[in-house]
């Protein structure tokens, strides 16, 4: 007998059919709810009804408040009416605020691109002393919470700001050289805050490009300018459009800069808050609907510009090598410019740290604070001063955890539903499939599965497309009425509403991260687990989740940072007991206790930076 072959007896045993499904007991009948074709080894069994239930939950959290706001904006004391909309368009300050929101957002995109794209090229394509350090510093604004950044700008470039006073002294002027107010100030803050989107996305796009494409263009006679225009920039289109969309949406929803610097120059978010504070609830709802409409139009317009992804090149190669700046004088100049830029970018952080050391009432008119100590930090030992920090931490943590769980569940369900939609056979429950007939059941199930997957993805991503103020108003509208049979509960004034708003706003970050992670997973891994006898849940726990961990961590990290520093929804929904750090900063600034406000700002910056460092992927080059 040849060695290595199994014995005839064992071969015969292998050939015998096994009784029943692998994991069922000998007495249980085969399941009629899950025909063999539906057994996807990669994901747990998510029945169609379960995925539908998840979609209903997300629709209630995300879509329902928006829908209610839209409905109530058409509802007056005597029933349906377009009166409020007519009123909106009759009032010049209303449509003026909308127009201002639009052009400020577009201008923010242009200015952010003008700064961020060249910076990305410099740091990705050139090599000079300090490139790595300066390249990391250039991304600093991403870890600066919005309100903190605005206040830091006030300290730096306001009429009494350090830089203003320095320039005034240098030029021996009688007054401050400029006034930080109006659209110019808003655009300055936006440029500083948003160029980093273009910078990061463009750098990532450049790092992915294949050097062979540029060499091919070169071999075909294209000079540097033509290579840039005809090859590099077109290949960056997806990155640029994504950055532009992100900048547009964020600028449209921007609240801190218009609130502090706008003055009489109102944009829609500040107009909404003003209407709400004035008790003009119907107008605030109309304004909310109009702002949401502009955001959705912007999102729709971007869909046709190729933001969905870079064209497949089918080329595997390395990015172009960085060009070393050779001449010593040029290298010195570039390095000096880089460090000067780093200083400018670091100034907001440094100034917040400085102001946090200024005790209340000690800095009146001097150009520089005369007293610096840690007295403000010592006040954090006081329970009342600690409360906003505790509030922000628990609300951000709870919201992030819930958003991570919900986002992951929605992503799993969406992917599973779409996969089943692509399979033959029925995916409806057996009895229903039997009544309808297998063919009809197949078509119906396929349509439902595909639609359900799409619905889940849309609901998870929708909050990203809608300005934060809009959601805040929508949630306040929905959860200010006690009508449980309509899915409405009185949550306003409770500790639940603010973290709920954070959860909704965090869903796109966690859900899309989970979706991207799932789509990037090699399906062979789960198949290998199944072949080794792992059931669906074990495969999820031991294979799928560990693979998803980096993506989920990145999404959760960003969600935590966003929730921790949130101001836009907080200012609409907070109560005294739930006031987060951002509201406390604003309150201290309004009370002229700048030092204490800066302390909270420093803590917020530190918390964001720690979260960013813990959860962001390391730089590859």
């Amino acid at each position: 007998m040849t060695q290595g072959l199994p014995s005839p007896g064992s071969l015969q045993r292998l050939a015998e059919p096994r009784p029943g499904p692998p994991f069922a007991s000998a007495s249980s009948p085969p399941s009629r709810w899950f025909p063999p074709l539906l057994r996807l080894p990669s994901l747990p069994r998510v029945p169609l009804l379960g995925a539908a239930g998840l979609a209903v939950l997300l629709a209630w959290l995300v879509g329902y408040p928006l829908l209610l706001t839209l409905v109530e904006s058409f509802h007056g004391p005597s029933g349906w009416t377009a009166h409020w909309f007519a009123d909106f368009f009759r009032r010049p300050d209303e449509w003026l605020a909308l127009w201002r929101s639009l052009w400020i957002s577009l201008a923010s995109v242009a200015l952010a691109a003008a700064v961020g794209v060249p910076l990305a090229f410099i740091f990705e394509r050139a090599d000079f002393p300090g490139r790595r350090f300066l390249g990391a510093v250039a991304a600093l604004p991403v870890a600066l919470p919005p309100l903190v950044g605005v206040i830091a700008f006030l300290f730096l470039y306001g009429e009494s700001g350090f830089v203003s006073r320095a320039v005034q002294a240098l030029l021996r002027l009688d007054h401050a050289p400029w006034r930080l107010a109006g659209p110019g100030a808003i655009l300055l803050v936006h440029t500083y805050s948003f160029y980093v989107y273009f910078y990061l996305f463009t750098r990532a796009g450049l790092a992915r490009q294949d050097a062979a494409l540029l060499e091919a263009a070169s071999s075909l006679g294209a000079g540097a300018a033509r290579r840039l225009w005809r090859v590099t920039l077109p290949l960056l289109r997806a990155s640029l459009v994504t950055a532009a969309l992100l900048t547009f949406m964020t600028a449209l929803a921007s609240f801190s800069a218009p609130y502090l610097f706008g003055g009489g120059f109102r944009v829609m978010p500040t107009q909404i808050l003003a209407s709400k504070l004035n008790g003009d609830r119907p107008m605030s709802q109309v304004e909310t609907v109009m702002l949401a409409a502009v955001a959705l139009v912007g999102l729709w317009a971007s869909q046709g510009t190729g933001a969905g992804g870079a064209p497949a090149s089918g080329v595997r190669g390395v990015a172009p090598a960085r060009r070393r700046v050779g001449a010593p004088l040029t290298r010195a100049a570039v390095a000096a410019a880089g460090y000067a830029l780093a200083l400018v970018l670091l100034l907001p952080h440094l100034v917040m740290a400085l102001i946090s050391l200024v005790p209340a009432g000690t800095w009146i008119a001097e150009p520089f604070p005369p007293v610096l100590n840690f007295r403000n930090y010592a006040q954090l030992g006081d329970r009342e001063h600690l409360r906003p920090i505790v509030n922000s931490l628990w609300m951000a943590t709870a919201a992030t955890a819930a958003a991570a769980a919900l986002g992951l569940a929605a992503a799993l369900a969406a992917v599973a539903a779409r996969r089943r939609a692509g399979q033959p056979g029925g995916r409806l429950p057996g009895r229903l499939a039997g009544r309808l007939g297998s063919r009809l059941a197949g078509r119906l199930g396929s349509m439902l599965g595909s639609r359900l997957g799409g619905a889940l993805e849309t609901l998870v991503g929708l909050p990203w497309a809608i300005p934060g103020t809009v959601f805040a108003i929508a949630l306040a509208t929905t959860f200010s009425v006690d009508a449980p049979w309509l899915g409405r509960f009185v949550l306003i004034g409770t500790p639940v509403l603010l973290p709920l708003s954070y959860l909704v706003r965090s869903l796109p970050l966690t859900g899309r991260a989970a979706l991207a992670g799932l789509r990037g997973m090699d399906p062979a891994l789960a198949e290998a687990a199944a072949a080794l006898g792992a059931g669906r849940l074990r495969t999820l726990r031991r294979v799928t989740l560990p693979q998803l961990r980096p993506a989920l961590a990145a999404g959760a990290g960003l969600a935590f940072i966003t929730a921790l520093g949130d101001f836009v929804t907080s200012i609409v929904l907070y109560t005294y007991d739930t006031r987060p750090i951002s509201i406390e900063i604003l309150a201290n600034v309004q009370l002229q206790d700048l030092g204490m406000g800066a302390v909270y700002g420093v803590l917020l910056m530190a918390g964001s930076a720690v979260a960013f460092l813990l959860w962001s992927p390391a730089e590859g080059r």
Partner: protein
């Protein structure tokens, strides 16, 4: 004699710190120096319309040579020139050399259609739209892809992408065509077919072509001449027949085609030409083995057996042709082709005893791996399908046809080279 159309004149390239200091006289071995000489004085002349294949294993410098010609790398200071029709193009940027290049992974612009890709090189020529359209159509017709203008790059197959890349390189009518491993991305069946189409297209255009490959069969099929590189050095440039029948160096002899290497002592008149090698198969210090030359990594000899002690074969001397001037009594290696050997009856005078350890059927010929008795060496013999079976005791001798100087044969068992120092292949 007219000057060559394309001349590579002592091209040299070193990667690393010493590359920049090469002109200043910093030699190898400088403390802290991490220089890697990749190309060492390559000189090669190519005639107009000629196709020359640069063949060599990985790291031989062939791709670096191609990139130097294209202008994507610059030679070391004082490290040679590239001349086309007598014009020194070494200092010109790639965009101004008018060389067409097909990249290993094609480098097709993914955001452009097939037609736009092919038209890319024509954009700077100030042609009107009609002329561009006509040139694109002609280029695509040349590679048998008529009507593909509107297709997207991601929608076509790998073989079609390769042809589009060729059409794009040819459309601007370049002076020289450079091909960097043009078929390496294709599966074997497609590679065979595309190879024929590539040859047909190049011949039809009649353009001076340099192609880089590590596949010997590809080089022999496509090239009028083949230049064999190893370690940045050009070993030999010649027709496939010259390389196979008259290899200039031991490396070429073992890299090109199948060969076995047998150590021995030279017996001859010292002026090169015909001689004999008294075989010494007695230890790993001079051990050699049959080498299959099917691709990269095949160069060099490795001992495949213990080789310690064993039978000294001092009574067996085989004839060969010295590839270089040798002195009698010098340690040499005899490189023999499988078809220059035959399986003969045991006890035949001048034969080496051995045992068949492997038999490989290859159509019209079967290759027999024979372990020589007591020597720890294996040699490869080509014979008929039923000549022997694994485990058979056989004897190996130079084939009668080779010794008798039959048509196409050299009248020798193989080529004789001076033994490589210990540690070198």
């Amino acid at each position: 004699m007219s000057p060559p159309y394309l001349l590579l004149d002592r091209l040299a390239k070193t990667f690393g710190a010493a590359g920049a200091r090469a002109g200043a006289g910093a030699g190898p071995g400088t403390a802290g120096d991490r220089a890697r000489p990749v190309l060492d004085g390559l000189t090669l002349a190519v005639d107009r319309g000629e196709v020359v294949a640069l063949l060599g294993p990985s790291g031989s410098g062939k791709t670096t040579a191609l990139r130097l010609i294209a202008g994507f790398e610059t030679p070391d200071p004082g490290g040679g020139r590239v001349l086309v029709e007598g014009q020194d193009v070494t200092g010109l940027p790639p965009a101004r050399r008018n060389f067409g290049m097909v990249f290993q992974h094609y480098a097709l612009f993914p955001h452009l259609t097939v037609g736009e890709n092919v038209a890319f090189g024509l954009e700077a020529r100030r042609l009107d739209r009609g002329q561009v359209r006509a040139r694109v159509a002609a280029a695509l017709a040349l590679v048998d892809l008529p009507g593909f203008e509107r297709r997207r790059v991601g929608e076509i197959s790998g073989g079609q992408q390769q042809r589009v890349a060729l059409a794009r390189a040819l459309a601007p009518e370049p002076r020289v065509l450079l091909l960097d491993e043009p078929l390496s991305n294709l599966d074997p069946a497609l590679r065979e077919r595309t190879r024929r189409e590539l040859r047909r297209a190049i011949r039809r255009v009649g353009i001076t072509t340099l192609l880089v490959t590590h596949e010997q069969e590809e080089a022999f099929y496509l090239g009028d001449r083949v230049a064999v590189l190893e370690g940045g050095v050009l070993h030999q440039a010649g027709t496939p027949g010259e390389l196979y029948d008259r290899p200039a160096t031991r490396f070429v002899a073992t890299f090109v085609g199948r060969a076995s290497v047998l150590p021995g002592i030279f017996e001859g008149d010292g002026d090169g030409g015909n001689g004999r090698v008294r075989l010494r198969l007695d230890g790993p210090a001079t051990a050699a083995a049959a080498v299959a030359a099917d691709g990269p990594g095949a160069a060099g000899s490795t001992a495949t057996g213990p080789g310690a002690g064993g039978t000294a074969a001092g009574d067996v001397a085989w004839p060969g042709v010295a590839a270089e001037p040798l002195a009698a009594g010098e340690a040499v290696e005899l490189v023999v082709r499988p078809e220059a050997l035959a399986l003969v009856p045991a006890g035949t005078a001048g034969a080496l005893a051995g045992r068949v350890v492997e038999r490989r059927y290859a159509g019209p010929v079967t290759y027999y791996q024979v372990e020589l008795a007591g020597a720890g060496l294996e040699i490869e013999v080509a014979a008929g399908a039923g000549a022997a079976a694994p485990g058979d005791e056989v004897a190996v001798a130079p084939a009668a046809a080779a010794l008798a100087g039959a048509a196409g044969a050299t009248g020798a068992a193989g080529r004789i080279f001076r033994s490589a120092p210990r540690g070198q292949a």
